[in-house]
């Protein structure tokens, strides 16, 4: 926790003038964008593709061990489960990334 250390963001400017830190933050941001991109592809596929665009085609199949038409299941159940999992995966990967680039909140001086 970093209490009382900043009351104004303007005081923190030194951290962005150090070239090594700038480069590290830039790389962190690039990796972050790549992670977001991958997760949003999954988000798009489970909802917009499986649940909407190809829903009617997928309805020809049923979800194994149940009686759900597959497209209908994605639209009314599966996509929602996938969203929850996506966020928890994001939290895990992002916290790891924070630590890898030494920008996490636990270890600040």
């Amino acid at each position: 926790m970093t209490e009382a250390s900043e009351h104004s963001h303007a005081d923190e400017r030194p951290s962005v003038t150090d070239p090594e830190t700038v480069a590290r933050h830039a790389e962190y941001w690039r990796r972050n964008i790549r992670l977001l991109g991958m997760l949003l592809v999954v988000w798009f596929v489970v909802s917009y593709l499986c649940g909407i665009v190809f829903a009617e085609a997928l309805n020809a199949f049923t979800l194994p061990f149940t009686n759900f038409p597959l497209g209908f299941w994605f639209a009314q159940q599966g996509a929602i489960y996938a969203f929850v999992i996506l966020i928890f995966v994001y939290v895990k990967l992002m916290n790891d990334l924070d630590r890898e680039f030494d920008v996490d909140e636990g270890a600040s001086s």
């Binding site: 962005v16 909407i52 759900f68 969203f83 939290v91 909140e105």
Partner: protein, 567 residues
Amino acid sequence: MNVQAWTFLLVAASFALYIGIAVWSRASSTKDFYVAGGGVSPLANGMATAADWMSAASFISMAGLISFMGYDGSVYLMGWTGGYVLLALLLAPYLRKYGAFTVPDFVGDRYYSQLARIVAVVCAIFVSFTYVAGQMRGVGIVFGRFLEVDVNVGVGIGMAIVFFYAVLGGMKGITYTQVAQYCVLIFAFMVPAIFLSLMITGTPIPQFGLGGVEQASGIPLLERLNGLHRELGFGPYTSGTKSTLDVFFITAALMVGTAGLPHVIIRFYTVPRVRDARISVGWALLFISLLYTTAPAVAVFARTNLINSVQDVPYSQVPEWFTKWEDTGLLTFNDANGDGRIQYVGPESSMTNELTVDRDIMVLANPEIANLPAWVIGLVAAGGLAAALSTAAGLLLVISSAVSHDLLKRSLMPEITEKQELLAARCAAGVAVIVAGYFGMNPPGFVAQVVAFAFGLAASSFFPAIILGIFSKRTTREGAILGMVSGITFTAAYIVYFNFVNPEANNAANWWFGISPEGIGTLGMLLNFAVTMVVSRMTPEPPAQVQVLVDLIRVPRGAGEAHELSI
């Protein structure tokens, strides 16, 4: 004990709980009032967000809507949950890092412009008021039907309760009452669902029951319902009637709108760290998904039960609930062929339909239709009230902080003291409760429609401005303002034209590319993005200190607590 006694007991007990929590968690500073002191645990914040988010619409109307729309109802299920993925990945952590009190705070500072701040304040107040009026109406309906008091008296009681804990406790009071309200509402939603699932499919988990086998006939439930639909001339339940493109656009508008709603966003200012903001979105969606994956099951159970209990039944032998709902005017029977029996049929049938059922009553009527015990019915009433009150309180806080913080403190009267600001916030919350109550008692005919469109408006205004503010340093003041104005103007114009100016033309043949007014927010959002990006490249780049600010937002370390700042 009868239904009314149970309802009275459960509603009174839940209200006493909310008031008790409000007294215990009084706000003593503006920080308490706006962001609950900034020390809420992620789990508690997740629950509070879930209650904040799930309104009377989610609790009372949604399962009913799906029940009548079948597959087409998926737009609400995916739209109102998928937005949390955007919120978690693209907004919440960065806004938490920035650490302001309100959404216009961020927009005003990031775009170094009072005009941008004012545009954001106006959007926030407009979106929140349309939404809150619908909640008050929901409170009135529950009181009217279950406690048999006048709808206006019901709205008045709801106002008094919200007034008490929102004005006294601010965000702090609201947060902890919302935690309690989540527990009440989810319990109230799950209990009848479990009962119904057991009765119809023999499994206690509604999500599995939906994909299970109907015990009475031995046929898979969804297949059985599709069969009933075919017989009665409704379209198949598991396939849609809307065009794929329209479903796509409506879902996107609801998702992006969810991520852009100020009362949801501010909840993530209340946790201590960026890390907590991320995980609390996850908890919020987990708690929400409990209701959202149960709702489609409730929809199918309700639909099957309704058809089985009224279709071709002699009018003289209808059950008690049927007559009670007839009294409210939300269910009407018109014996078109004069045979004394109820024909409930769809548009593709050769017979005339004689029964009209308001979609909003399905969840409330469901336990009665299925003959569940009296206490379950009372519980549903308490749950509906919890859902409506928790959302109303969250919205009122956005309105009051927009007035006292963004308009007074940050724009018009920067010299006021914290004490005065807190007083102003309380007064603004008080006035907002009264205005909301007025609209609840005298709903303008278009409230229900406008609530659905609030998402389109939020999608086409806030979302691009916030995203680009974080992800593109080059985005300028001019770009953001023109983008917000063009997005919201385009969306509002399309909606107003098809709903109020020329309602006869409101059909797929006249819509642009076949996109309904509900889905147009997606196009408005794309327009906003395009305008913002083009104009930003044509105007001088943002000042150095703003670019530094963006760099700081992108890195979690050093979040501190939500606080006031000036750049």
